[in-house]
């Protein structure tokens, strides 16, 4: 066997490793794909090997191939195998591969839950680290839910390396499982003051990320962040905090006022550009949030602008970019301060860097005024001509339109100029923004009545020269302009100088190559033009002209009737029939012009795009009410549609053209082909199959010439916008002159010497009068339209789920799902250690039921309070009792001890904080660290006297509340049955999968064996916990749980939960034990053998937290006790006292056992081997169902059930040093006999004694 393994590993030594693979790929440049496919085949072979090293190597290569774009998801299961290797080397490879290619829909992810949990609780910090890193990349909602509690525990790990990773990953957990946010938040907040800068930075990072999406929930943290900002020296942290303040200030202007000063100081003092930049950014945000007008703020603005100018002038392009970026933020609120730097910004427009030009463009938006708009746009037009890439040119185009159209064309003094700019823009080749230009043209023409004559003339020219736009089919985007042109010419045809010419232009055969929707507009507006033409021609003497026009229409329209576009076809055939009818009337010499123009009478008003939505619902109208009585249910629903179809069918057949049968069609097609083949003029594969009327009589044919349009082209009749610029200059000159004259006159008249205000210097905005008196029609809105604009939120934002009020006290129902024993009805306290590995992933519904109960009870209590005041005292008692019960007295089963204490603590501290925020914001001096804590504590006390006294509750009444709770447990069980069933089904499914992979997945399979023992439970188990009381005094309580370490045979991990029971802050806790020969506390590197272990957190009142300590033990066969002392400082408002608490740490033999699954065949072999010593024990008067008994042994003593037959079960466990422990448990009546075998008799004896003791206690 061993030989075989050696031989195999030698064979495998010649497998390719990653380097070989890379080298191979580089050597096969020509047939890379082929080479890789052979490599993948090899990898597939390697993955079939049993040797984990080979598998890991294969997975490593797959990770590389994944980067090259090969799908490796088929190897997902192998990756899981490598992840679960006990060696760090392979584990790391596995997690890396998983992080690169796992995602939410990878189904093997659910197999990893237990493995990850095991790695998270590994005593080797790098196992944990690697697991956290991997998990951060592929966490799913399920994983987040199942592991949230484990990760939360890691947040107070002794090693900062783990703490910072655990803190950081919480963000991902929150995203996937938003319910975890509230329970985890207090601890996250605590980490903001972690002694390790890395952890602190991680906590800041996470909270900033959370607050960015839902800032209002984090306002209460402002004082804390403010303190950090003034004390921290880490630029990363500072930047994050300052960014966070930028997000918070819009919600609380008072905060902004407080920030200005320290930020200004930072701006002055820092040498780090990144920090400076973020400060400026936040100051800008503050200034935006503040109402303007305060004198000292204009100074801040000036400071910002001035600093930004320095950035922009810097030779470093990055700073230039950022300066412009920040400048654009100031622009929104303080355009004046930015405008003074116009020169600089215009200069940036010429920068060689496109990113910088784009940013400068953004700024231009705010730079314009009536005065300089034309000048700036002229400059931009030059850029348009020069620009190389289409993206930049498109950007320029949109910017030009934005700048001109902003705030309802505020800055445009001359609309003729604007129209000509728009027309010039149509020359852009290959732009995507044709529709933008078109909509501007329409908007201006419709809303500025004075410009219509000019616009119509321009559009007519455009239509006439349409071939220039459409000549190149690639430039389709610009065709949209013709849509606008055609519509404007049609709608305002009364302004056309030569409508006949335009009509002809619109009916050119070339039009048929335009997109359908444009053709449709052409057809419709040709009809409008037709009516105008008729009107003018009928008025004149010659009647034949009108008839000729009709003839033209009749000749040309059939082209559109044949269009493939339904809309075009429909409109064309309608209009064609109409014109034919008109022609008939004309032949009878009837005057038709009046009637025809009546078709298009009336003016269209511009309507705001949102108008329809804004129509208010009239009073008394209920939109959801039935108009008719709802149809009775008895009426079968499928009858009605049938009736409709029956009615409609004849209609359909009528409206259809005469039906031609297939044969006839085929025959015709054949004939047509024949004809085409014989016709020398038929051009095959022409772009449109329609007939081309090229030699129609009476129309001048415009030859289609391809013109290279990159050369600026002057379309005859189109004025250049530049001319307007000159004209405008002249006009303004003249105006100014006029004004001066007038003023001089005035001055002469007055002669008082006071009127010197206007004479010299640049003219002010108002002085510029528009060239045309324009009336910009506002868009129509319905009466009483609601002004609100609250319809732009994205409902799919994942961060929406995280919009959670964090100041509300934590309700019981919100606790994180805690891993619990499969059969346990109530979740046990948060543990992270070995025994929990045998629990299935989630127990949520069951657990909730118990929580709801508790809540109900509290409600009841509340009700009682309301009804009778006399009972108040009694109620207090009740609550106290309850808390004691939940809070975990030593002899009671501890339930959720940690979280409940947090529940008690939370409302008080948050209340205090909210009021604290107001206090803090009201410009009071910032309280120092300790003071603040003290005030919090004080308020907490005031707010919650009843809760705070829970420590001294009487013990005598304990039984009563407990019983009542148990009763309630039973009653609510029925309600939850359904849910439970579903859950169970799910789990069974999961189980199946687990079994399926059993052989490959030995490490993760730990859970089944225990399920075997308990899966058929009818009755729920009472809650269980392994946490036992370590020591307690009036200040603090310690409970602990001891677990062996699977990876290291000589280590034991002790998890201690410290709970603050008093009203003061506990700090500087030091945990020390007297090392014995056999057992030693592992101390941080560099500390002496008698130094204590410093607990890495402080405890505010009522809070509990967990720390983990690692002990090394040599011999594990005997239980042992270690004496120790906890020293700590009790910090009050005015004093601090040193206190200590002695304790005895009891290492039972049980704690050296590790739940290990074992299969019955292996178990049988083990028993047969004969190496094991035998021993047995008898338990009398055990009053519990057999499965409860088994569950207890499993839970408290870390055994797993191998097999169970009726009232007999075999169980197995292993010590950390590899001793096998086998039990055979038999029951008859109230007697339980346990026969046990183990290779170490002393250990066995001790374990059995401990088991006996467990059952004697119940």
């Amino acid at each position: 066997m061993a030989l075989k393994i050696v031989k195999g590993s030698i064979d495998r030594m010649f497998d390719k490793n990653l380097q070989d693979l890379v080298r191979g790929i580089r050597n096969h440049k020509e047939d890379e794909a082929k080479y890789i496919s052979t490599c993948i085949d090899e990898i597939k072979q390697e993955l079939k090997q049993d040797n984990i090293a080979v598998k890991a190597n294969a997975v490593c290569k797959l990770t590389y191939l994944q980067m090259l774009g090969y799908d490796v998801s088929w190897a997902a299961f192998n990756i899981v195998e490598v992840m679960s290797s006990s060696k760090f080397t392979y584990k790391r490879i596995g997690y890396l591969a998983a992080s690169q290619c796992f995602h939410e829909s990878t189904d093997v992810i659910m197999l990893t839950t237990n493995q990850i949990r095991k790695d998270l609780s590994s005593p080797n910090q790098y196992d944990t680290g690697v697991a956290l890193t991997g998990l951060s990349c592929f966490v799913t909602p399920d994983l987040a839910r199942d592991l949230a509690n484990d990760i939360m525990t890691l947040m107070s790990h002794t090693k900062p390396y783990i703490r910072k990773k655990a803190v950081l990953i919480m963000y991902k957990v929150f995203l996937k499982y938003p319910e975890s946010l509230r329970p985890a938040f207090p601890r996250l907040k605590e980490k903001l003051e972690d002694p390790d800068p890395g952890v602190q930075s991680a906590a800041v990072n996470v909270i900033c990320e959370l607050a960015r999406r839902n800032p209002k929930n984090y306002l209460s943290l402002a004082p804390l962040f403010f303190k950090l900002m003034t004390s921290s020296t880490n630029n990363w942290v500072l930047i994050k905090i300052i960014k966070l303040f930028g997000a918070l200030t819009p919600l609380e202007p008072r905060l902004g006022k407080k920030l200005i000063e320290p930020l200004t100081n930072l701006i002055h003092s820092t040498s780090a550009m990144s920090l400076l930049y973020e400060c400026v950014n936040t100051v800008i945000a503050v200034l935006i949030s503040l109402s303007s007008g305060m004198p000292n703020h204009s100074a801040s603005i000036q400071l910002c602008v001035q600093k930004l100018r320095i950035l922009i002038e810097d030779s470093d392009q990055n700073l230039k970019y950022l300066g412009l970026l920040a400048m654009s933020k100031i622009l929104k609120t303080h355009p004046k301060s930015v405008q003074s730097h116009k020169d600089l910004i215009l200069q940036c427009l010429d920068d060689k860097d496109e990113s910088i030009r784009l940013r400068a463009l953004d700024l231009l938006y705010g730079m314009v005024s009536k005065k300089n708009l034309m000048e700036i746009v002229k400059k931009l037009m030059l850029h348009v001509d020069k620009a190389e890439g289409t993206t930049y040119r498109d950007e320029l185009l949109t910017k030009i339109i934005d700048i001109c159209s902003q705030s309802n064309y505020q800055y445009i003094t001359n609309f003729e100029w604007y129209i000509s700019i728009l027309v010039e823009l149509t020359r852009l080749e290959g732009t995507r923004h044709g529709h933008l230009i078109a909509s501007q043209m329409l908007d201006v023409a419709i809303r500025v009545k004075a410009i219509r004559i000019f616009a119509v003339a321009q559009m007519a020219t455009l239509l006439d020269n349409a071939h220039l736009l459409t000549g190149n089919m690639q430039r389709n985007g610009i065709c949209e302009v013709l849509y606008a042109a055609a519509w404007i010419c049609g709608e305002f045809s009364e302004h056309l100088e030569n409508p006949m010419q335009t009509l002809e232009a619109m009916l050119r055969p070339k039009v048929a190559t335009l997109p359908g929707h444009i053709q449709a507009v052409y057809v419709q507006n040709a009809a409008k033009l037709f009516s105008t033409v008729l009107k003018s021609q009928e008025g004149s003497t010659e009647g034949t002209a009108a008839q000729e026009t009709s003839q033209l229409m009749i000749d040309r329209l059939p082209l559109f009737v044949q269009s493939a576009n339904l809309e075009v076809q429909e409109r064309a055939s309608c209009i064609l029939q109409l014109v034919k009818y008109i022609q008939k009337l004309q032949q009878k010499e009837v005057e038709v012009a009046e009637e025809v123009s009546a078709l298009f009478a009336g003016e269209l008003n511009p309507v705001a795009p949102k108008a329809q939505k804004k129509v208010p619902v009239p009073e008394g109208l209920d939109l959801d009410a039935w108009i008719n009585e709802p149809p009775s249910e008895s009426e079968s629903e499928d009858e009605q549609p049938k009736a409709i179809f029956a009615k409609e069918e004849p209609k359909h057949s009528r409206s259809r053209h005469t039906e031609v049968d297939e044969k006839e069609l085929a025959r015709r097609r054949e004939a047509r082909k024949q004809e085409q083949a014989n016709n020398p003029f038929y051009i095959k594969a022409s772009p449109s199959s329609q007939k081309v009327y090229q030699e129609s009589p009476g129309v001048e044919h415009i030859p289609v010439v391809q013109i290279d349009l990159t050369v600026p082209l002057k379309v005859p009749g189109l004025p250049m916008s530049d001319q307007y610029l000159k004209l405008e200059e002249e006009r303004r000159q003249k105006e100014r002159a006029d004004k001066k004259k007038k003023e001089k006159k005035k001055r002469k008249e007055k002669r008082s010497g006071r009127g010197r205000r206007h004479d010299s210097g640049p003219e002010s905005e108002e002085d510029i009068t528009p060239a045309h008196m324009v009336d910009i029609v506002t868009e129509e809105m319905p009466e009483n339209a609601l002004p609100s604009d609250d319809d732009d939120k994205d409902p799919n934002d994942p961060h929406k789920a995280l919009d959670i009020d964090l100041d509300k006290p934590l309700a019981d129902s919100e606790k994180l799902p805690v891993r619990s024993h499969r059969a346990a009805k109530v979740a046990k306290s948060p543990v992270e250690d070995g025994d929990a590995e045998n629990t299935p992933p989630s127990q949520e519904p069951k657990k909730k039921s118990s929580k709801e109960k508790r809540e109900k009870k509290k409600d009841k209590d509340r009700d009682r309070k309301k009804s009778k005041e006399e009972k108040k005292k009694k109620k207090h008692k009740h609550e106290e009792k309850e808390e004691d019960l939940l809070g975990g007295e030593a002899d009671e089963p501890v339930v959720q001890s940690e979280d409940t204490t947090e529940v008690v603590a939370l409302p008080t501290s948050t209340n205090a904080e909210v009021s604290d925020l107001d206090f803090w914001l009201s410009n009071a001096p910032v309280p120092s660290n300790t003071q603040e804590a003290a005030t919090v504590a004080a308020t907490a006390e005031a707010d919650s006297v009843p809760e705070a006294t829970s420590g001294t509750a009487p013990d005598s009444d304990h039984d009563e509340p407990k019983n009542s709770e148990l009763e309630e447990t039973k009653s609510s069980k029925h309600k939850k049955k359904k849910q439970k069933k579903e859950k169970e089904e799910k789990e069974k499914k999961k189980k199946k999968k687990h079994h399926h992979h059993h052989r490959h997945h030995s490490d993760g399979g730990a859970d089944e064996s225990v399920q075997n023992g308990t899966v058929e439970d009818e009755e729920p188990l009472p809650p269980m916990s392994n946490y036992c009381l370590l020591a307690e005094n009036s200040y603090i309580k310690m409970v602990c749980d001891i677990q062996g370490n699977l990876q290291d045979g000589s280590q034991v991990v002790v998890s201690v939960i410290f709970e603050n029971k008093c009203d003061s802050l506990l700090k500087s806790m030091e945990f020390n034990v007297l090392d014995s020969l056999n057992s030693k506390l592992q101390r941080p590197e560099g500390s002496g053998p008698h130094d204590g272990f410093t607990v890495p957190f402080q405890l505010p009142p009522g809070v509990s937290n967990e720390a983990r300590l690692v002990f090394t033990v040599q011999s594990i066969v005997m239980p042992q006790k270690m004496k120790g002392t906890l020293t700590f400082i009790v910090k009050n408002e005015d004093s601090s006292i040193h206190e200590k608490l002695d304790f005895k740490l009891h290492f039972t033999c049980t704690s050296y056992l590790i739940t290990t699954p074992c299969y019955s065949d292996a178990f049988a072999k083990l028993l047969e081997s004969g190496d094991l010593k035998c021993s047995s024990v008898r338990l009398e008067e055990v009053n519990m169902p057999f499965h409860h008994l088994l569950a207890r042994i499993c839970f408290h003593h870390h055994f797993s059930v191998v097999e169970r037959i009726d009232s007999c079960a075999s169980m197995y466990s292993r010590s950390i040093q590899g001793h096998h422990v086998c039990l055979l448990v038999k029951t008859s009546g109230q007697t339980v006999s346990i026969d046990a075998k183990c290779d170490e008799p002393t250990l066995l004896g001790n374990v059995l004694d401990e088991i006996k003791q467990t059952f004697s206690q119940c």
Partner: protein, 193 residues
Amino acid sequence: MIRAILIFNNHGKPRLSKFYEHYTEDTEQQIIRETFHLVSKRDENVCNFLEGGMLIGGSDYKLIYRHYATLYFVFCVDSSESELGILDLIQVFVETLDKCFENVCELDLIFHVDKVHNILAEMVMGGMVLETNMNEIIMQVDAQNKMEKSEAGIAGAPARAVSAVKNMNLPEMPRNINIGDISIKVPNLPSFK
């Protein structure tokens, strides 16, 4: 948040890709190509920021990159990250690589992409910056490598020997060939800290 970290060479060959959001392999390759296209056509001496392409991000995202010798280091980040901070992070990353590989060159990245990933994992986790202190990063990376070595122990020796023999027989020794072997010069930029 950082959405993706890409390293590719002057020809657009990916040397490392780390996406903190899931994309299919095809999309990933498209993103790399698009990013390369965007970044490679920019001159030296222009700013190191540019708006993200179509595929990755959108208006809220930026590409922040640095160009060292034959390699582009590109980070795709959203607005919550400080632009200059990320530039500095890239510098820290490259300096760390330089320390860990001793005069890092493109070939180090080609042949040891797994190690690069491990180093990166100590700096950025799940799209969030984990550690910016170079000494701390190097310490953790070294500690993990040491652990790996001790695990390999004697069992790893024959494998190492074989790979040494393989290297000997092959004409292509990473350090001795000329393609892309220009070591990445790490300029001493004024750190913002």
